[in-house]
Symmetry: C2
Subunit: 356 residues, 2 copies
Amino acid sequence: SKNYNITLLPGDGIGPEIMAVAKTCLVEVGSQHDIAFDFTEALVGGAAIDATGIPLPPETLATCQASDAVLLAAIGGYKWDTLPAEQRPEQGLLGLRAGLGVFANLRPANILPQLIDASSLKREVVEGTDIMVIRRLIGGIYFGKPKGFGVDDAGNKTGFNTMIYSVPEIERIARVGFETAKKRSNRLCSVEKSNVLEVSQALVTRIGAEEYPDVELSHMYVDNAAMQIIRAPTQFDTIVTGNIFGDILSDAASMLTGSIGMLPSAAVGSDGPGLFEPVHGSAPDIAGTDKANPLAQVLSAAMMLRYQFGEEEAAAKLEKAVNDLLDDGYRTGDIMSEGCTQVGCTKMGEILMAKL
Amino acid sequence: SKNYNITLLPGDGIGPEIMAVAKTCLVEVGSQHDIAFDFTEALVGGAAIDATGIPLPPETLATCQASDAVLLAAIGGYKWDTLPAEQRPEQGLLGLRAGLGVFANLRPANILPQLIDASSLKREVVEGTDIMVIRRLIGGIYFGKPKGFGVDDAGNKTGFNTMIYSVPEIERIARVGFETAKKRSNRLCSVEKSNVLEVSQALVTRIGAEEYPDVELSHMYVDNAAMQIIRAPTQFDTIVTGNIFGDILSDAASMLTGSIGMLPSAAVGSDGPGLFEPVHGSAPDIAGTDKANPLAQVLSAAMMLRYQFGEEEAAAKLEKAVNDLLDDGYRTGDIMSEGCTQVGCTKMGEILMAKL
Ligand SMILES: CC(C)[C@H](C(=O)O)[C@@H](O)C(=O)O
Ligand SMILES: CC(C)[C@H](C(=O)O)[C@@H](O)C(=O)O
């Protein structure tokens, strides 16, 4: 029997509630596929600030690094919004990404047929949307140096950040892009602002044409991509882009689906543990009210099974359970529509277990 | 009788065709309101590269600087896409913006009731959308130094750009934002990534509360803004943001309307001439086929009359002519829908003249 060490990071807001559901489901699906999980819980984000004063305690990072995979719920909340930037929950997340070396963030945005009417886009426009945004997660303007505050020639106070990429950073993510596109529809769109930015031109790489002759590579400027994703999202298959562009575009893409509470993500790329988390945030306004949608967390666990462990069957089992309960008309408040049955987070967990 | 010196920059692609329509309309509306225009044509973008080897000849900039306002059509095209970045048509546009000191780019995205069905969003979601995006046009990562190519500690080639703002740059655009919001619905949303970027924190300024107590100021992260604009665009009134964020968000906002061929923009802020241009590009694929939609160019001329010269009546006259012909069902190909009459660029110009 296989045994995996998983670090669970419930984080803040609705995090603990949705993580509880995902954990129960993992145990169940594991037992069906002869997989045992050793779970270790650790603190990150606001929860870690409250307990230890910092958003990413060294023990947490060490625990994550020593495990086989990390499952995160969500971090942040109004409570910590007034702290100086370098002490905020977000820094815990950035530190975790960097500390794990997970340079590629896979953010799928696909329309679930059962939820298509939740989209703000017309049915005929979004139907069939299935985009995978691959974002460079641990470089670019999020981490580039120099950064900080200064004084310009005229004596005025300035703030500045550096957007920087090296050729190997570009090449390794390009490979992830091509490999991903190969498993999908063989179309990769590289999104940059190469008509203006030098850093975008560092991307122009020839990897594709030689190593992946079957993948069709296209290029698009980021402003145009933001338009095209709204105009005709089905034109995209796999998108590869930088950290901040990916932050913006993946959020836009996930909103297209109308059900961001359903979208998982994976941060991978190192030889070590990957980081798996829902696209949505910690929703502090509904924390503790049993209203949260746990499905993106469960689907993040499925991504972990597939991408980290190659446990395709167990992953598919979790995904099928989610699909089946949607077919049966069960919905949390965020995806509720007429004629469906509204349930809370705990109840959703029970239904999932029944389906499994 | 008043007399204004206008520099016309037809640029590339469909530029000359749509500029011809705008010019004729300006002459007509001017003669009705006792305004005379002196037009000077100059070269910019690809047209300038072909004629002189560079995208912004010094004579062009001098002509623009010496005039009362600049009306630009569009620049760029496949033909110049293989040139090195610093020699491309885009550099002409950036040089023009910087040379004129037009630091505030006003990009309206409003839904025209006649064209609402052209939006990819559901009618009930977009109806009533009326957003003004104000973008910092001559700073930030587009112009920040240092920039270029280098070598990192590991000996790898890098590309880099600097996103930098000074407090006065932030304050002057904040004022434009508050003034604009005051004339609209008194709501200003400042869009940044201040949870991650130092440069975004330079924005946090207190101008608003004191000088504009009636304007409600809110803050939103750029990734969330990209989602919210798709989810519920009517929540926004005036948005103020940086150069690259504004590039992305204003394109997304204009695509919401489904009729980017209808949207004008204004770049203002200096004491001298402003720069007025359609949001759409040069559409090289349909250049010379008389298929272009000249209405955004005409509406850009209207913005020029209003913002540069305070000629409200003449501006309104142009806008009314556009509105009337839409009511009559005249459409160019890009905004065509069932039951309407499809016309070309020249014919659209004739209809406009008849309406005037
Ligand atoms: C919370 C924030 C630092 C983070 C980011 O910008 O990467 C979030 O927006 C995301 O996309 O995961
Ligand atoms: C052509 C390009 C340089 C320009 C920009 O990025 O500013 C364009 O996208 C725009 O928005 O006017």
